[in-house]
Amino acid sequence: MAITAIAIARIHDLFAVVMLTGIFSLLGAAAYVVMDAVDVAFTEAAVGAGASTVLMLGTLALTTSEERPASAKNVIGAFIVVVITGGVLIYGTLDMPMYGDPMAPIHHHVANHYLGESSTEVGLPNVVTSVLASYRGYDTLGETFVIFTAAAGVLAILGRSRLPRRHHNDEDGEAGTASSPETSKDPST
């Protein structure tokens, strides 16, 4: 995964970069499988490696597949900021419990209740589903609204192209961005 990340940062051909981000997501999904988080791996493989790669390819088809040369001003300043941020993040992880530590606080808050009582309270064999849909129903509802909002936002920004477009031989053709459906449907204009 680290090699893929470095390659993504170094390569200027955006088509290769998009493919590499897909590979990165697939490696992430494999890592989740190793950690026994099959549900998360499933999502990562479907969304990260599948849907978002396709969306980025669609964007490339609309724009260009060459990265613009970045202006190399203040490289040292940027490097210092990155090193400090990384150092602070690593310092923060020092206080975290070891991976798989059974005494970690996260395993003693509500997890025991979920694991022990889920079969009698919810009655589903898959505890992940019962936590997601029942115990944490509000969170999942919020996530669903987030996805809904994303689609609504894309439609609000890009969905305009399905409306009847104003003809360009209009005298005010340059103001085409402000065309509303009422004016373009009106036969008198």
């Binding site: 669609g58 589903t129 849909a133 609204f145 809904f148």
Partner: protein
């Protein structure tokens, strides 16, 4: 890509199984890994594959823009509706225990409906976002935002 016969035949062969697998993930999420979110994305992937091979217009014939927009709302409303049904039946918002006679039965009904709502919204969202992106022609983009 419509003229590539291998792509056309293989994708036509695969798409029914992708959709079937999505439905399996949707309804089997209670017992194995998966659930509404994953099922929605896989279901949408089937349509995206079709759109990539046969064009967005072909998908829009099966699934018009108005249909995906309505489905987008139906999914969210189904989820919220299950929550409101809990209130109407005397429980709290999103309290599934009151939906059926037994407690686990109610939980089961609630979870299946809620996951179905999530699946509908996610599938409709991904299809909508893809079709809006891919349905735009590059000339149109340059017309709106100028030559980059």
């Amino acid at each position: 890509m419509k003229q590539k016969i291998i792509l056309r035949v293989i994708s036509k062969f695969l798409i029914p199984y992708i959709l079937l697998f999505a439905l399996y993930v949707q309804w089997h999420g209670d017992f194995g890994p998966g659930g509404g979110f994953q099922a929605g994305v896989i279901f949408a992937a089937g349509f995206i594959l079709y759109a990539m091979i046969f064009g967005v217009a072909a998908v829009r014939e099966v699934l018009p823009a108005a249909t995906t927009r309505v489905l987008l709302v139906i999914g969210v409303l189904l989820y919220t509706g299950v929550g409101v049904a809990g209130i109407l039946l005397g429980g709290n918002f999103l309290d599934y225990n009151v939906l059926a006679d037994t407690r686990t039965g109610g939980q089961h009904v609630g979870i299946v409906l809620v996951e179905f709502g999530v699946g509908i919204t996610v599938a409709a969202s991904v299809i909508t976002i893809f079709c809006t992106f891919a349905g735009r022609r590059p000339e149109e983009y340059k017309e709106d935002y100028g030559e980059n």
